[in-house]
Amino acid sequence: MRRFPLWSWFWFLLGTLYFFLPLLGTLNFSLRIRRDVLSLDAYNNALTDPEFIRTFVFSNQMAVMTILVSILLIVPTAYWAHLRLPQVRPALDFITLMPFVIPAIILVFGLIKTYSRPLTVFGLPVVPPLTNTVFSTNILLIFGYTVLCLPYMYRSVDNGLRAMDVRTLTEAAQILGAGWPTILFRIILPNLRTALLSGALLTFSIVVGELTLATFLARPAFGPYLALLGNHKPYEPFALSLISFALTWVAMGIIQFVTRGSGQGQLAGGH
């Protein structure tokens, strides 16, 4: 009875083309380092470049640290807000929406302006300039990434907490005689596994390729490396782009897999 949905298929086809043509183009380029033959040499060159290994390892370290800081910062706060301070949740929602208003370029601008000189309160220096040492700049970078990823991590955790009815679970555990460590580590966190995993993977896929913060804080990350590589290598950047796409794909694929059916959506970011 229903007609063939011609237009639907048309838009689907167009969407699919838009998705895959750039990838096909990238793949095509990355294989053409040798004249007239397809080869994986570009991948070999790119992946064995010591500079690549150094920056990629650095970015991964930053991603892991960002994930840890985010979890430590957000999970207790969100849990506490659900349990004891529901009136603070609108404020949390608002704060975690702010990174959408303040894009990376503005954030790094403000961070540099604030932390490249001693931070003073009533004329007294309380924090020394963070951009002075490599270590403290890394900390600044990690905190900056934490801010950038705040919306994703917070939304994930908040959805997760909402889905499990924190108050009832906590009270049920208390009635059965559980202490705080038991409640947190054996009840709340296991139930948040999916939410934490998807928050962490989103954070990971944003941080690993991030360009803006790393460039302006002058840290040797993968994003700036890839951007510079384009200036002096013709094929290797495409190989690395495809790999970086594959990483995003794997991260999103896992999120789709673990959150399937739970109705948790995620939005995008990190441009």
């Binding site: 910062l73 702010m98 894009p103």
Partner: protein, 297 residues
Amino acid sequence: MTQASLPLQKPATIRPRGAVFNWIGVIPFFLFAIAFLFLPSSSLFIGSFQNSEGGFTFDNILGLSQPKILDSYWLSIRVSAVTAIGGGIFGFLLAYAVSIGGLPAWVRSSITTFSGVASNFAGVPLAYAFVAVLGRVGFVTGILKDIFNIDIYEAGFNLYSFWGLSLTYMYFQFPLMVLVMAPALDGLKREWREACENLGATSFEYWRYVAMPILLPSLLGTMILLFGNAFGAYATALALTGGTLNLVTIQIGAQIRGDVLHNPGLGYALAFGMVVIMAISIAAYTWLQRRTERWLR
């Protein structure tokens, strides 16, 4: 007796120590937000009203009216508007196709996954991907030239210009639209369509009087979100054009690197102006989303 088999642990209690105690739990988060979100952004805000001696001035804000800066805002606004409207319309049609357009279920799940990936795929790799497909020797450029005998560069197209950048931004814009609109389209109840038909309305009248008005707030809201999304983009533009396009973000980047405006205060004002535009768009998005939620409750 049964107690003995349980681990001996002090039962957790939430002692009634009043409101002060309750707030301790959220203080670390607020301190973090103040230190790394509000302090940096308000320092830019304050800086945009300060002269080089630290006194209050409107000169920086007024200085935004110089042609180069106005041009950069205008270009950023045009790119954002074009990709928000274009990406919005295309994303909506795609969301329609996969949600209520009569396509099989696997199409829906594959498009949702693609959209999740593509909306997060931005920055340097995205720029390279578009160089590979629409650059001078790109994949599609080549196909068009060799098979259809159309040289898009002869015809005036340039990837490193306005339209090239817009096409590139579209790659993360329309998937975001799909992610937001597909659930909204699911929210259209079958009964509304049936009630409409029952009251004598045609399919066109259903869309005109019921479906579109219901979807319009979230459609507009999401387009505004897309606008902000493109407006704040820096990495993709930089990697694609190397800073030759005069976008606000590119200007700010150059200012951070080396005070190209020769006036730090003007740089802060530039950033402040951008935050104002972003804030307006996010506020409008939030307001419009709430409105729809109220209807669809």
